[in-house]
Symmetry: C2
Subunit: 239 residues, 2 copies
């Protein structure tokens, strides 16, 4: 059975302007590979209602899971929850369960649960809350869309709580071989070898080091024995 | 007049699997901001013909420019040129001008221009070559799609040659203020201030340092004097 598929939707003017370097994509990619969920596409869109809704609809329809990152804080530019709700045709308002979590958290800290902080209790009808052990304000799962924070520490903590509840497939295994020859030299035999193992994927990632060309050849698949056999064949070809 | 818009299309199984951390997105975002071209969306797709063609078509129709990264080398998994050509309805074959560039390069290096390397001379009909000062194999511009290499050093060199030929708008200027208070405290007054400057965009990016919450407030726009005025008002509110 093929693995469940996934897409990521990053909401972030700050990434598109070059101010911030995204960190969550790399973290999610590794976590999903381990969980046996195939990350097939990532979209980064700006803090714009139409852009968020269009991407959320397309990705929700196209993949088993969608993971979003960013735009669920208390400030005016945090518009992800409302626009994911709109994309999925769900109502959204301040929900009692989320309000209770925030109230308890801010009460302990002696901080006022003001109108801005209450915005973080806006959760779509029918959504399941995602725990935020770092700063309390929850994420949520609506349909197949998992809405999480953009701050890496919070994104990672939410994902760690969420992932065990999702059904993964077989983890994708990989092995790699560094070859000290240019891609142009290895391309022919590598293509022939890849054709002999249609269930594996063979990627070639070139580099240049101290003026010499080389490539990392990465073999991916779900059958460890087959990957082992391919690596032996690779080593014979290029070692 | 609004600035030209742009999207980026990253072709890369190695990024979606978590093996490699993308570097070109951040570089392109900064370069376009300086050039006055608004990067509105980024998509990362796998090394799959349908995924590449679907994304290339959608982005080419939606934005002034599309910049692609990855998949134009000599190996079997380098399928970007053929699929961008298919998406744009252009024929593709080995082109004499690209072949001449490769022949001269490999001749100087005493390396055979074999069938694999010749694949890098596959350029769509009507495309304009993009110079590759690092390793010779050219990128190309087909319609509004600029096809470039994935290796960061080559991507950056190609972009440096390409950008001066594109018409940019006014560079987007930005200033930021670090505030040592939680977003929940600043959200109300910040939202009011943002409403007073509809031509500027106000982003709030929270952080946690030594257990204390703070936020970077970033003000962006094209009118430097207006940004200055907004920063004075911000400092009065939160300093």
């Amino acid at each position: 059975m093929p693995n469940p598929t996934a897409a990521m939707l990053v909401i972030g003017d700050e990434i598109l302007s070059g101010r911030t370097r995204d960190a969550n994509m790399h973290h999610l990619a590794n976590a999903l590979t381990t969980a046996g969920i195939d990350l097939c596409e990532v979209r980064v869109v700006s803090d714009d209602p139409v852009a968020i809704q269009t991407a959320a609809k397309a990705l929700s329809a196209g993949f088993t899971h969608v993971f979003t990152s960013g735009g669920i804080g208390p400030t005016h530019d945090d518009i992800t929850a409302d626009n994911v709700a709109a994309a999925m045709g769900a109502r959204i308002d301040i929900r009692d369960d989320a309000r209770a979590i925030l109230a308890a958290h801010y009460d302990r800290a002696g901080i006022e649960l003001n109108a801005a902080r209450l915005r973080m209790a806006r959760i779509p009808e029918g959504a399941i809350l995602i725990d935020n052990p770092v700063s309390a304000a929850p994420g949520f799962t609506l349909g197949n869309v998992h809405v999480m924070a953009g701050v890496p520490k919070i994104f990672e903590a939410m994902l760690a709580g969420l992932l065990p509840s999702l059904t993964g497939g077989a983890p994708v295994l990989s092995q790699s071989l560094e070859v000290q020859r240019g891609e142009g030299d290895i391309a022919g035999p590598l293509g022939d070898l890849a054709a002999r193992y249609p269930e594996l994927s063979f990627g070639s990632y070139p580099f240049q080091r101290h003026g010499a060309y080389g490539a990392n050849i990465v073999v991916r698949g779900q059958d460890g024995a087959q990957i082992d056999a391919a690596m032996v064949a690779l080593a014979r070809l290029f070692a």
